[in-house]
């Protein structure tokens, strides 16, 4: 896959070193992206402060298709939570959280909201904010 990508970018004869370099760059970018996302999500898990499980619904092509990213995000969230909890004096606290792929979440969510809005007759403007 990387070879064909390099060919597309104009490198007609990519060698082993080229693909290794590209692989390395992809690894770094994925790792950094996972850390940034994990920071954000860990913050929300701590903020919501649930005693039971915290479920996070995720949709989007990047997360669905990038299996390695899923593993890394899970790993980094676990570590950030442990780090922050021990900083706040709870070194043994383990928060339960689950990342769930919500396929076509945005579309089906809109369907649910439309159904609710119709049922509760919200669309008449009685409930403005």
């Amino acid at each position: 896959m990387i070879t064909s990508l390099l060919e597309k970018l104009g490198n007609s004869t990519p060698n082993g070193d080229d693909t290794k370099i590209v692989n390395y760059i992809i690894d770094i970018i994925t790792n950094r992206a996972s850390q940034l996302i994990a920071c954000t999500l860990a913050t929300f898990i701590i903020h919501s402060n649930r005693s039971d499980k915290s479920t996070i619904a995720i949709d989007g092509s990047l997360y669905q298709n990038h299996k390695h990213l899923q593993v890394l995000i899970q790993y980094y969230i676990e570590n950030i939570l442990i780090l922050l909890d021990s900083k706040n004096g709870h070194p043994n606290r383990r928060r339960a959280f689950e990342l769930v792929i919500t396929e076509d979440g945005s579309g089906k969510g809109a369907g649910i909201v439309a159904a609710l809005a119709t049922k509760l007759n919200l669309a008449k403007g009685s409930f403005t904010f």
Binding site: I37, T40, L41, F44, I45, H47, S48, R50, D52, K53, S54, T55, I56, A57, I58, D59, G60, S61, L62, Y63, L69, V100, T102, D104, G105, S106, G107, K108, G109, A110, G111, I112, V113, A114, A115, L116, A117, T118, L122, A123, G125, F127, T128, F129
Partner: protein
């Protein structure tokens, strides 16, 4: 582009209508309620009013800024005939939609996340922490939590993440349609 979207909607309306007719011999309901996912920042004034705040992700239609996206869609539907009497009853952000579906499947859901072309998070906040809502009239008394769309893709637009940004980031950002925003 507008024409392309219009044709797409037209095509799907017909497909949907034929499905309804096949599965259900009864008369089609008087109106078909439609929920609209709009993946851009909006000022939401009601469940069916979403004023476009600005564009992101290499989409730019400056004329539409400040317009109500629900009305724009409704007008377009009406313009193509709106044969099936589709009413746009709700507008919501894609992260919000994900959270709603997530919470429908699992009540312990605390946040909805989008990781695709852009990224966004929406979460459940205790209404006590939202002054705009908790201090309002008694009809909000029985409501305990509210969904907050953070638009956290814009985190760092004010420079607070500059310390972790590299020159590769700036180079990439410079080539986007809106340098300096949603990096």
């Amino acid at each position: 582009m507008a024409e392309c979207i219009t044709n797409f909607i037209k095509h799907h309306c017909q497909e949907l209508a034929s499905k309804i007719d096949l599965n259900n011999n009864q008369k089609v309901q008087a109106t078909l309620p439609l929920g609209f996912t709009f993946s851009f920042p909006t000022h939401q004034h009601a469940i069916n009013i979403g004023q476009i705040k600005g564009w992101t992700k290499n989409f730019d239609l400056p004329d539409a800024i400040g317009c109500d996206a629900t009305q724009l869609l409704q007008h377009s539907l009406n313009r193509i005939g709106n044969q099936y009497n589709i009413q746009v009853v709700a507008i919501l952000n894609d992260a919000t939609g994900t959270m709603v579906k997530g919470a429908y499947a699992d009540p312990t859901c605390i946040a909805g996340v989008i990781l695709g072309t852009g990224s966004n998070v929406c979460y459940l906040e205790d209404i006590q922490n939202v002054s705009k809502w908790s201090t309002r009239d008694p009809c909000f008394r029985d409501i305990h939590s509210v969904l907050i769309n953070t638009e956290c893709g814009a985190l760092g637009d004010n420079g607070c993440l500059d310390s972790i940004k590299t020159h590769f980031d700036s180079k990439l950002d410079f080539q986007t349609l809106f340098p300096g925003s949603f990096t």
